[in-house]
């Protein structure tokens, strides 16, 4: 659905005033992480400037189909996590478990693709010590993979939270307001986990959509 203002909205809910998705601490952490990756991208391009031909020939040794597949996998996973949440809130939809499971599965597929790609490169003689390009390639993708694994941990925690809530007989998406206020402290931490974890997973996706052209297409 598209509003007169030109923004897509979900028919389930519309925004009621401005609100920050996640807590201040979450955004501080995400901004530090994004800045760190920004510096790493700059360092990569700086090194590329010093040995452009080496970077150009080395980048052609990478298989861009791997990069394409991993990008598609992460984008789909991110979309599933987004779809699992009720818009503009930190609540999960009733069918969130299937979506979170799908996102988790795709995250594991990403890890498997990365492992296969790394092993193919190393066995072909293009290890991290081959040259500056491959040092950066392994460093950047390894740091990103660590973020993917941490993100999978967040998704598992969100899943566990959802299952626990379901077991206790409460509908996460349709809770009585009076009950919500009585259980405010635990709800707040659970909502922080859901929103913070989801934002972290989207950040992992965001970093990869820049890494993909940087390593596979533009070097």
């Amino acid at each position: 659905m598209r509003t007169l203002a030109g923004q897509w909205t979900d028919p389930v809910e519309t925004p009621k005033g401005r609100r920050s998705p996640g807590e201040l601490g979450t955004w501080l952490f995400l901004s530090i992480d994004l800045s760190f990756f920004g510096v790493m991208f700059g360092a990569f391009l700086h090194e590329r400037g010093r040995s452009a031909e080496e970077f150009h020939s080395s980048a052609r040794e990478l298989n861009p189909w791997f990069g394409l597949a991993m990008t598609a996998v992460l984008i789909t996973s991110s979309a599933l996590v987004f779809a699992a949440l009720v818009p503009y809130s930190a609540r999960l939809r009733p069918h969130a478990l299937t979506l979170i499971d799908g996102a988790l599965g795709l995250g594991l597929v990403f890890c498997a693709l990365k492992a296969v790609e790394w092993s193919l490169k190393v066995s072909a003689g293009f290890g991290p010590r081959k040259n500056a390009f491959f040092t950066y390639y392994f460093d950047l993708t390894a740091i990103h993979l660590v973020h993917v694994v941490i993100g999978l941990g967040f998704l598992l925690a969100i899943r566990e939270s959802y299952v626990r809530t379901q077991r206790s007989g409460e509908s996460v998406a349709e809770r009585d307001p009076a009950e919500t206020s009585r259980r405010a402290p635990s709800d707040e931490s659970r909502q922080a986990l859901i929103e913070g974890g989801a934002c972290y997973w989207h950040m992992v996706d965001l970093v990869w959509v820049i890494l993909f052209p940087l390593l596979y297409l533009a070097s």
Partner: protein, 90 residues
């Protein structure tokens, strides 16, 4: 309009745009084999457009306070300028 599979039209529409943009950059980038090409600047622009789409829609920043949105937009803009600048002048 509701995408039955995932229950969220926003997720479906944004996801399709992101995949389409990825395929476009792949088609563009995997067939050029020169350095210093203007195509790379287009690749960065599309990549940062995708990053902004993820931020605004998946991370719900479009409904966030102005300061947070401005910070995110500034990050995307500065990163795009730095990537392009370092690519062109390196």
């Amino acid at each position: 309009m509701r995408v039955a599979l995932i229950g969220s039209p926003v997720a479906g529409v944004v996801g399709v745009i992101l995949i389409a943009a990825t395929l476009a950059t792949f088609a563009l980038g995997s067939h050029h084999h020169g350095t210093g090409s203007w195509i790379v600047l287009v690749l960065w622009a599309v990549a940062l457009f995708k990053a902004r789409l993820i931020g605004m829609y998946f991370m719900d920043l479009r409904t966030a306070p102005l300061a947070l949105r401005v910070c995110f937009d500034a990050y995307c803009l500065v990163l795009w300028a730095v990537l392009c600048g370092m690519y062109v002048w390196s």
